[in-house]
Amino acid sequence: MSKTRLLPPLLRHPLKAPFSTTVHPPSTTPLDPQALLSKPTWSIHSLLPPTTTTATTTTTTTTISTPSISSHQLSHLLKLSALPPPTSSESTSKILSDLHSQLHFLAHLQSVDTSDVEPLSSIRDETPEGLAEAAVTVDTVKEALENEERVGKWRRPRRRVQPAKEQREVEKWDVLGSASEKVTVGGGGYFVVRSGKAVAAE
């Protein structure tokens, strides 16, 4: 499996320093803001595969090679995602072309060199203070540790098990309400799931 490295597109472009050290000489011709802003310097279409219908020119023409997906691979992917298989060849080709353009987009991202960048799993406070705040210490679990007793000759710590007489707050809601099919048998209610031939029969 491949790790997808998601990087915000902004990094693709070099960051401009907030305070520029270079001093531009005064230009002779006055700047025309209208002219400047009327032409886009970059379009998202540059990230999409070139099509015959669109005539927009792209500023960066990089040849990206996108892998082609076979219909066999497509059915495997749909099975993995628990999505229904395509019904007609038209829908298959539609899905495949969508997939192709998405992969082209991703190929642009993957072309960036990230060899010395640590992969990001989530945006959290990773400063030492932030980590210290998130750390689990003896204080954090103080109550649980006090709820233990020393048992036996070797005085080994054992958790005191108090059988709960009633449910906790978080457990008090209609659990079976979300069931499409349920049954009450003996001790309580169960969710019902049907599999195999019974499903096919329906």
């Binding site: 980590l131 679990v141 005085r155």
Partner: protein
């Protein structure tokens, strides 16, 4: 009776044919060899060719042939014992194990709902579910830090390095028992790595693995559990989501196990470790712990490991070993046949001989592991790890070492106690109580006989109680023996047993009384007092007398001991000693009630060495056999004067010395190192002088009362009593004096002889006193000492004559 036609008869005799007509349709009998030979002998015409009918094979033979053919064809091979089946020559087995254990926590991993704990009654289904457990849209995971306590303890028990920062990942697959479509686990950054578990032979590793096996642990990670499915008929399933989200630890080993028994031992050891640090709720057999095994084989000498297959659904330790052996054999047979092993998932069920395929390679799931974006990293502070490590107390290995070293238990007993946790604590309780009673404080290592005694009783004697017939064991409940035998009572029994105040048999009976609850109020001491079960050992002197008694009839056995002493046999005849001790115990009071077998053995051994062997030895000349000696001894003290004369002639005659010592009834006259032969001879001369004159006084008295006819006048006098007191030495003098006399009056000497020999007179009314005396003369000259005429009254007589 109808006359049988000759033709029919001859046909039967020669060919075995019987007439077919009639209600009985008989089968043709096979021709006996004798008859056929006779037929050949008699027939002149050339023999007809054999009939075209196929030979009829009898049914019994047919069945036998079929069975033999079946046996040769598809016979199952002879069953190899598991201990011999650990290695297949030419092939190397590699096993990796993944253990999932349910953590013992108050809440689930990512929601505050409560987790089920061991020892709780059954909870109604779907009542301990938080919205996140059902993946209700919008619910978020909330990591519960209390789940780290048993997780860190488990990792520390497995000697792992705890990682300060670890992260959660998603493992995607669709199944009805996983509502969110993914399981949150720690694939890339687990919270513990690089551990190891040390296995010793006492843990049950294969013998081929040597003295120690170190199994490396690759990582320990936390993950969620799935829902419980109850299969119903018609492909229907009932789901109970109480268990979703309960924290599990997954322990992944390096592929460094090479024998099936070692794999099973590893799983057992991990379970024991997790239980001792209170990390898991229940064991493999109860479903709290699950083991998946990866098996691969390669030929010996190859460097690359073969393709591995995974075996799931192993529910007991025996299943682990059996499944690995079956899978190894299957893989070897496939490879030897030229096939290839596919990396598939296989299952095992109890009692099967081969693993079965659950999921092939094409059904392999692509889990698409990805870091979970909803959860932050788990940061574990060092002080928490240190605190938990410090308060963990001794692990089972150390406890077993202490049991063996400090309390002197055998390895087997120590391991047996370790595996029964309740019994172990009970043993400690009993031991503490016993030590308090004995007044033993911290004793040195090894001097712990009372500890071994307590362990023996806690294991084996209590075990015997559970085999009592009137205990009813239900399928779900195991009768707890320790609850019925209080620690104080058992400690009291062991205390008295240790102090040798009661015998072992009495102690066992008392244990049964305690178990049955029939002990009197006041405890064990009262019980012993009330039934007077105290052990009163008999004195040393009594032991010695019993030993003498036993030896008197066992001369032959002493010869074996003499042979050992003389160096003719190599081993001490311990068996013979045991035989003698057994005879002593039987001869002792009340079937050995007051006798201690070890004291009896000690006494017997010392008596043999000090008294009996020297006595045997002082009969030094080996040329002198016992067969010649016996008749002389049987003559008794009446031949003593002859022996004395012999000694006088040759004081060095050892035979005579020995004979004299045997015959002499008066212990002050015995020849010994203190009293040499010469001195004893002098004493004998004096004694002879004394007894020579004694009968004269009595003779005078008899003369005075000779007109009396009854014997009383002759015997009721001082002189008579004096003669009796002198004892056997006086007998030869009497014989000399009265042998040839015909004087009827003086022949009351027979009364005197009877009195000396048997302690009482005959008082028989007799006319012929001469005859009486003649009997004595005959006895004196020829008879053995025991064969002296003994008068018994009419009531005592059995056959109406003197003995």
């Amino acid at each position: 009776m109808v006359r049988i036609p000759t033709a029919q008869l001859s046909r039967f005799l020669f060919t075995g044919q019987l007439p077919r007509r009639g209600c009985l349709q008989l089968r043709r009998c096979p021709i006996s060899p004798l008859i056929s030979h006779t037929r050949q002998a008699f027939s002149t015409a050339p023999t007809t060719p054999p009939s075209t009918e196929p030979a009829v094979v009898p049914l019994r033979k047919q069945l036998k042939d079929q069975a033999k053919a079946a046996k040769l064809a598809g016979a199952p091979k002879k069953k190899i014992k598991k201990t011999d089946n650990q290695t297949v020559p030419g092939w190397d087995l590699t096993v990796g194990i993944e253990i999932h254990a349910q953590l013992n926590t108050p809440s689930k991993l990512f929601s505050p709902a409560s987790a089920p704990s061991s020892g709780e009654d059954a909870i109604p289904p779907n009542t301990r579910v938080a919205p996140f457990d059902l993946a209700i849209p919008g619910s978020q995971p909330l990591f519960q830090p209390t789940t780290l306590i048993p997780a860190i303890r488990a990792a520390l028990a497995l000697n792992c390095q705890i990682q300060p920062i670890s992260k959660f990942d998603r493992k995607h697959y669709f199944h009805w028992d996983q509502p969110s479509g993914y399981q949150i686990t720690q694939y890339y950054h687990p919270f513990a790595r690089s551990g190891k578990v040390t296995l010793l032979p006492r843990d049950g590793i294969a013998a081929e693995d040597g003295d120690v096996v170190e199994v490396g642990i690759k990582q320990v990670q936390m993950e969620q559990d799935t829902a419980k499915t109850l299969a119903q008929p018609n492909s229907t399933h009932f789901l109970d989501f109480n268990r979703v989200g309960v924290p599990l630890v997954e322990i992944i080993t390096e592929p460094c196990i090479h024998r099936p028994a070692t794999a099973a031992a590893f799983v057992r050891k991990v379970q024991m470790l997790l239980k001792s640090v209170d990390a898991c709720t229940s064991g493999l057999e109860q479903g709290g712990l699950r083991a998946d095994v990866n098996v691969s084989v390669k030929r010996t000498g190859e460097t690359q490991l073969g393709t591995r297959t995974e075996i799931k659904n192993l529910s007991s330790f025996k299943a682990v070993e059996d499944a690995i052996i079956a899978e190894r054999d299957r893989q070897i047979s496939v490879l030897e046949a030229g096939g290839k092993i596919e990396g598939e998932t296989r299952g095992w069920s109890l009692g099967s001989t081969e693993t079965r395929r659950l999921r092939g390679k094409e059904g392999e799931v692509d889990y698409r592991y990805m870091p979970d974006p909803d959860l932050g990293p788990v940061v574990i502070s060092e002080d928490l790890v240190k605190t938990l490590g410090r308060t963990m107390e001794a692990l089972p290995d150390e406890e077993v070492e202490v049991l063996m070293r400090k309390y002197g238990l055998s390895e087997r007993d120590a391991m047996a106690l370790m595996l029964m946790e309740g019994r172990l604590e009970y043993f400690y309780g009993v031991l503490e109580e016993l030590e308090r009673m004995l007044g033993v404080t911290a004793a040195e290592d090894g001097e712990q006989k009372h500890a071994s005694l307590a362990a023996n009783w806690c294991l084996h004697e209590l075990g015997k109680l559970s085999e009592a017939e009137d205990i009813v064991e239900t399928a779900t409940e195991v009768v707890d023996i320790t609850s019925q035998v209080p620690e104080q009572d058992l400690a009291a029994i062991l205390f008295y047993l240790h102090e040798k105040k009661i015998t072992a048999k009495v102690a066992k009976d008392l244990l049964w009384d305690v178990f049955r609850g029939t002990v009197v109020t006041g405890g064990i001491t009262e019980q012993i007092d009330s039934q007077d079960l105290w052990y009163k050992e008999i004195s040393e002197a009594e032991y010695i007398s019993i030993a003498d008694e036993v030896i008197a009839s066992q001369e032959k056995v002493l010869q074996d001991f003499l042979k050992f002493k003389q160096g003719k046999s190599k081993a001490y005849p311990q068996g013979k000693l045991g035989f003698l001790v057994g005879k002593m115990m039987r001869a002792g009071p009340e079937q050995g009630k007051g006798m201690d077998p070890s004291s009896a053995e000690r006494v017997m051994r010392s008596r043999i060495e000090e008294v009996y062997i020297p006595r045997l030895e002082s009969s030094a000349p080996s040329t002198w056999s016992t067969t010649a000696f016996k008749p002389l001894i049987s003559q008794g003290p009446k031949i003593l004067p002859a022996v004395v004369v012999k000694l006088a002639l040759n004081p060095e005659d050892a035979a005579a010395v020995h004979l004299y010592n045997h015959l002499e009834k008066d212990s002050t006259f015995l020849i010994s190192s203190a009293l040499p032969v010469a001195a004893v001879l002098e004493l004998n001369v004096d004694r002879n002088r004394a007894v020579r004159n004694a009968p004269m006084d009595w003779a005078e008295h008899c003369d005075m009362v000779k007109l009396h006819s009854s014997s009383i006048a002759y015997t009721q006098c001082e002189e008579f009593d004096e003669l009796v007191a002198l004892g056997p030495p006086v007998i030869p003098q009497l014989m000399l004096r009265y042998k040839s006399r015909d004087d009827l009056v003086a022949l009351f000497a027979y009364e005197l002889l009877h009195c000396i020999l048997w302690g009482h007179e005959t008082r028989e009314w007799t006319v012929d006193m001469k005859m009486q005396f003649d009997m004595w003369v005959e006895w004196f000259e020829k008879g053995a000492w025991d064969e002296a005429p003994h008068y018994r009254s009419r009531e005592q007589r059995k056959d109406g004559r003197h003995v």
